[in-house]
Amino acid sequence: MALVEFRDVSYEIARRPILRELSLKVEAGETLVLLGRSGSGKTTALKMINGMLFPTKGQVLVDGRSTTEWDPIRLRRRIGYVIQEVGLFPHFTVGDNVGLVPKLEGWSAPDIETRVNLLLDKVGMPPAEFRSRYPRQLSGGQRQRVGVARALAADPPVLLFDEPFGALDPVMRLELQRQLLALRQDFQKTSIFVTHDVREALLLGNNIALLSEGRLDVMAPPREFRQAQSDEARAFLAVLDN
């Protein structure tokens, strides 16, 4: 059974369609990249998975259950969320930021500490050096590493990424992309990753869904995606020729 499934999902704001009859499945352990231009509906689709938004028509199923039937709090604590602006709590230390969801879930203090240390290590931020710092004392790349660690903290089966590396310089971006691939080896997670960068999509996705004006244009694994013939896919792939 697919872990996340969109069934004929449409969404509109003030009668303006954002998503049109979107249907797709994300299998357990897979990384699906939602690729598209600004305004193609990819972020809207992402926010429907953790119940930040709900479809006007159709259903989004997580674990086989419609998001409208989930208790939103329970649903969200099972889904890690990483956004471009990171959104770390400025008044929490790095350690408290990472340990937030485990704390909300009522883990014991020693368990939280062990988990935080493990994750900070995994994202290349030695806990002895970083766990008592505040977000403002970190660089952009370090903040996003903490953001990724925070999303993984309570071991959620699903991770959502909304252009997480979009604000970073190219060198840092590549480093974090590689790190994410390495993390994927360690933590078998189902991920949905939003980007407008076709290179990033090809690097990170097991499957790429290209959205165009709220519709699913092409959905294919990277190798096949490179051969896709639709106008929109070719527009994106043309970037690679430069």
């Binding site: 709090i73 969200r76 956004i83 959104g87 400025p90």
Partner: protein
């Protein structure tokens, strides 16, 4: 006579401080929760902000006059004064609570919600701590203005340092006016400094 004056200053200053303290406790207890309510209920914003805005525009002497005939909260004396002072202090506290909470970075609130915080957790753990310096600034401004406004309390028998000022104006006695005005100004300065210190402490986190 001289030592008598010092004694009066002390006693009336204490009375003044008590009036302000009473008014501020009520103003904070009403203003902060109401401001939080407004962050969750957009439709009520123009009504409540409008009401407290209008309150601010009414000259204080006139407001005392309006309150006197109202049963329970009105009449002559301290209670009426405190009601009027609360009405004046409400706007800065209400507005700063609202603005402070709405001003918390959108990405921070979005992550908090996406991580599965309940609305109460979002409010207590994220929005109030981050809005605290702004809320405190509203309380500071309200306190300083209230210390000044409270001098008019004497006009309706509320006591405080205004007693000196009214007496001094009536008898064209500069010493009496200064005996009311200088301590009031010093209390206002001290409150501004002290609450400003708290505000800076809150924003350094």
């Amino acid at each position: 006579m001289r030592s008598d004056l010092w004694g009066d200053i002390l006693q009336l200053s204490a009375e003044h401080l008590l009036l302000v303290l009473n008014a501020m406790v009520f103003a904070i207890a009403i203003g902060v929760p109401l401001g939080i309510y407004l962050t969750r209920h957009r439709a009520a914003r123009p009504w409540l902000l409008g009401f407290s805005n209008i309150m601010q525009t009414i000259p204080s002497l006139a407001l005392f006059g309006f309150l006197i005939p109202i049963p329970f909260i009105g009449g002559i004396g301290k209670r009426t004064v405190i009601v009027a002072l609360v009405l004046y202090a409400l706007l800065p506290i209400l507005r700063n609570t609202l603005v402070g909470i709405l001003g918390v970075e959108a990405a921070v609130c979005e992550s908090a919600i996406a991580m599965g915080m309940t609305d109460g957790q979002l409010l207590r753990q994220v929005q109030i701590p981050l809005a605290a310096p702004t809320i405190m600034a509203g309380i500071r401004v309200a306190t300083v203005t209230t210390i000044g406004t409270a001098t008019i309390a004497a006009a309706i028998g509320g006591g405080g340092l205004g007693v000196f000022i009214f007496r001094g104006v009536a008898s064209v006695d500069t010493v009496q006016i200064l005996a009311g005005a200088v301590p009031a100004a010093l209390i206002a300065l001290a409150a501004d400094w002290g609450l400003g210190w708290v505000e800076r402490k809150l924003s350094s986190v």
